[in-house]
Structure formats: structure tokens, C-alpha cells
């Protein structure tokens, strides 16, 4: 590979992973992982809300999936209020990670760019929304908690 191609490949691969440093009012929460641990007691996970057959799980894991199929609901907190995320896992893949309940003081439309990123990257390692750091953290904490449940169930 030529050097120009190497530099282009580096950009593409690092951009795809995203970064974790948030901007603006980065307060006490350095990452979504930490936030998820802090809110763990408030998690309520409902793996079978969607009524899927648990028996489907082994075939999903056979293709290398790390999450068990199902719908998982969890809550993340912030000083401005809570955000509930509903994560749907199908065939071991996160197919949606919607904000299912927004109780923050600010509209959750501000962080509407986050759910598609979670799906695209299959993780909470996403580009946060500057100026909505608390909401971003709350949402990502909720998704992190939900995915932790999905993983534990796999």
C-alpha cells in the first residue's frame, strides 16, 4: 500500500471507531462505561418483551453474535433528568436503540444523532453531541446498561 493510501485508510478506520472524549461541559463522567456502572441499580431489563423465543439464541451466537436477541430497556440518569433507551437485538445485532422516554429538561431531539450511531457501530463508542453532554451521557449509559444485559444473557 502506498503512503497516501495508508493515510487514507488510517482516517477511515479511526473515524469509524469514533472518539470518546466529549467536549463542552465534560464534568464528572469520563465515559459511558462509568456512567453505566453508576446507574446500574436503576436498570430494568425486559429481555422477552418482544416475545421472541429464547431458543433462537444458540443459533445467533453460532454466527459470532455477542448479544442475545430480545428487547432491552434501561434508564440513564443525568442532573437534568432521566433518559430511557430501548435496545432491540435481532440475530445478535443491535437493530435499534431508540430513546423511548425522555424526561430531561432539554428536548432529546438534541441527541437524535446518537441512536443511529449506536446501531452503525454496534457499541456506545460514538461521537457525543457537544453542548448536550449530560443528555448524551444519560442516553449512552442507558444503552450501555441495556447492552450489558443483552450480553449477560447471550
Amino acid at each position: 500500500m502506498g503512503l497516501i493510501a495508508l493515510s487514507s485508510a488510517a482516517i477511515a478506520s479511526v473515524y469509524a471507531v469514533g472518539y470518546v472524549n466529549s467536549s463542552a461541559d465534560e464534568s464528572a463522567v469520563p465515559s459511558a462505561v462509568v456512567a453505566a456502572a453508576a446507574t446500574a441499580p436503576q436498570v430494568r431489563a425486559n429481555p422477552d418483551v418482544a416475545g421472541r423465543q429464547p431458543a433462537a439464541a444458540p443459533s445467533a451466537s453460532a454466527v459470532g453474535a455477542s448479544y442475545r436477541d430480545g428487547t432491552y430497556v434501561a434508564t440513564g440518569t443525568s442532573r437534568h433528568g432521566n433518559i430511557e433507551a430501548t435496545v432491540v437485538v435481532t440475530n445478535g445485532q443491535v437493530v435499534s436503540a431508540q430513546i423511548s422516554n425522555c424526561q430531561t429538561r432539554y428536548p432529546c431531539s438534541k441527541i437524535s444523532s446518537l441512536p443511529p450511531q449506536v446501531v452503525a457501530r454496534q457499541s456506545v463508542t460514538v461521537n457525543r453531541v457537544s453542548g448536550s453532554t449530560d443528555s448524551s451521557n444519560a442516553y449512552l449509559a442507558a444503552v450501555g446498561s441495556a447492552l450489558a444485559k443483552a450480553k449477560a444473557a447471550a
Binding site: 497516501i4 495508508l6 488510517a10 482516517i11 479511526v14
Partner: protein, 289 residues
């Protein structure tokens, strides 16, 4: 990064524009946190503190080091991200092979080179074969510009500039190519050249900025004096990371070998000697008109 970063986009009033710009700026913070050699807590410094064994690193740090070492290989060490003299001053004066403590060398007598940096792409580990410090300052800044530009893909037109490195896309507000001035290496306040760019990165390394407050220089890694043959080195390339590394490499290689290297890489550039003689790649003139 104690460098002023400027981002200019057309359509800044569009929904989501502010967030996109904030995300773009976030890459500069991310790169700084991982790649600076001035913060003991940076990922780079943690790596440099553990020589002699493979260390798993982030994709970001791996890619920057991989590119730096690749440019070092392609230039026979004219560009070299490893710094030896600094280590001597900070107490790493033990001969790594023999374990014998040597008197602290007065200057860069240790011959640390990029060859001591061992990359494992499969495991994404970096092993420093001997104690050394990696200086990724310049190319990491270029990489941040590239990543910031990737965040701005929704804009038809954008420019990201940091510390004299620039990358542009599309046309400027007047619907023309972006005009970029190349500072004259000897006549302060004047331009050596003006180029018209669209969808390209440009970087200039000059001898009048070799020593700055934070100690950045263009090293002559092999003790060569050839770097004296260039006063100013400008490279136009598709990525800012490449433009930055190549400008330094061409500076050290000198006018003839430097231009040959740039042409081999398929990029354009111009070198100005201290006598103000100009050397340019064959395609450079199409940017100046």
C-alpha cells in the same frame, strides 16, 4: 494542542451544523489526549514508559505510529518519529543491550531510530525495542485535521486549519478554489507563492520555525546537514497527515532528493533554498497559475 484551530464551512446555519463542527473539534482533543509527548498521562507516554514488550494500543495511536514508521522506512530515516537525545537528558542513559549504565551523552550520540519500533497489525500492539520517545506532534495534528474534515462531510464546502496545516474541500464562499498563501521563508509578512486548492491538504515546514516555545524542531535524524539545503518545504497531498510528514521528509532530504521523493509518492510540492532558489514537482505549477 496549544494550536489555534480554525474551521470554516459553507452552510453553517443548517440544522446540525454546530454539532458537526463541535464533533470535528473534538478530534483535536482526542488526538491530544492520545498522542502528545508532553502529558505524562497520554496514551503515547504510557506506551513509551513500557519499552521491551508489546503494548496493546488504541486504533488511533496505532494508525498514527504505523504511518510515521512507514514514512520513515520510505525515506530511509530522513523522517523519523523517534527521539533519542531527549531520553538521554531525562535519564534513560542505560545501554539497553548490555544493561551497562553509560555516562549521559552530551548530545544525540545515541542512535535510536524508527527501526526500534515494532508494530503488530494483527494484535494491534506496539513494541519499543529500546527506550525512546515518539514525537508524533506534527503528523498527529495533520491526522486531527483529516478526521475533523471527515466529520464535516455534510457540508459542500469546508476548510480546517491548525498551526499552518490546512485541508480544504469544495469551493470557497465566492465559488472559487480556496486561495492559500505560502509564507516566504525569509521576507516576513510576504508570500512566496499563492496556490488555488480544492479537495486537498497543504503543509509548509520552514527553518524559521524550527525552534518554538514547545521545543518542536525539524530534526536531521541521521546527523546529516542536508536539511540546511532547504529553507521552506511545502507539500500538497490528499491528506493532511501525509502532507505534514512529507513536508518534513522533503525538508530533511534536501532539494533534489526531496522533490524526487514527492514525485515518487504522487504528490506535489515546492522547496525553497536559503538562497531562495526554487525546486518544484512537475505538477506543482498547475496550482499557482
Amino acid at each position: 494542542m496549544d494550536t489555534l484551530v480554525t474551521i470554516e464551512v459553507l452552510g453553517a446555519g443548517a440544522p446540525g451544523a454546530e454539532q458537526a463542527i463541535d464533533r470535528a473539534l473534538g478530534w483535536f482533543r482526542e488526538i491530544e489526549a492520545r498522542c502528545t509527548r508532553f502529558d505524562p498521562g497520554s496514551e503515547l507516554r504510557l506506551l513509551c514508559a513500557q519499552p521491551g514488550r508489546p503494548i496493546a494500543v488504541s486504533p488511533l495511536l496505532f494508525r498514527v505510529v504505523e504511518f510515521a514508521v512507514s514514512v520513515a522506512e520510505a525515506t530511509g530515516g530522513a523522517f523519523d518519529p523517534t527521539v533519542g537525545a531527549l531520553l538521554a537528558r531525562t535519564g534513560f542513559d542505560r545501554n539497553y543491550a548490555t544493561g551497562v549504565r553509560e555516562p549521559c551523552p552530551a548530545e544525540s550520540t545515541r542512535s535510536v531510530t524508527y527501526k526500534a519500533v515494532i508494530l503488530d497489525g494483527e494484535r494491534q500492539t506496539i513494541e519499543l525495542g529500546e527506550p525512546l520517545v515518539l514525537d508524533l506532534g506534527a503528523i498527529a495534528k495533520g491526522f486531527a485535521i483529516d478526521l475533523a474534515m471527515a466529520e464535516l462531510s455534510e457540508f459542500e464546502s469546508a476548510a480546517v486549519e491548525a498551526g499552518g496545516d490546512l485541508r480544504v474541500r469544495g469551493l470557497n464562499a465566492e465559488g472559487r478554489s480556496w486561495r492559500v498563501g505560502i509564507r516566504h521563508p525569509r521576507h516576513a509578512g510576504t508570500l512566496a507563492e499563492v496556490v488555488a486548492l480544492s479537495d486537498a491538504a497543504i503543509c509548509t515546514s520552514a527553518d524559521d520555525e524550527r525552534v518554538t516555545a514547545d521545543g518542536h524542531h525539524i530534526f536531521e535524524p541521521q546527523g546529516r546537514r542536508s536539511a540546511r539545503g532547504v529553507a521552506s518545504s511545502t507539500v500538497i497531498a490528499p491528506t493532511a497527515m501525509a502532507a505534514d510528514a512529507f513536508a518534513t521528509a522533503a525538508f530533511v532530504l534536501g532539494p533534489v532528493a526531496g522533490i524526487a521523493f514527492l514525485e515518487k509518492q504522487g504528490v506535489e510540492g515546492m522547496l525553497v533554498t536559503p538562497a531562495l532558489e526554487r525546486f518544484a514537482t512537475k505538477g506543482f505549477a498547475r496550482f499557482t497559475r
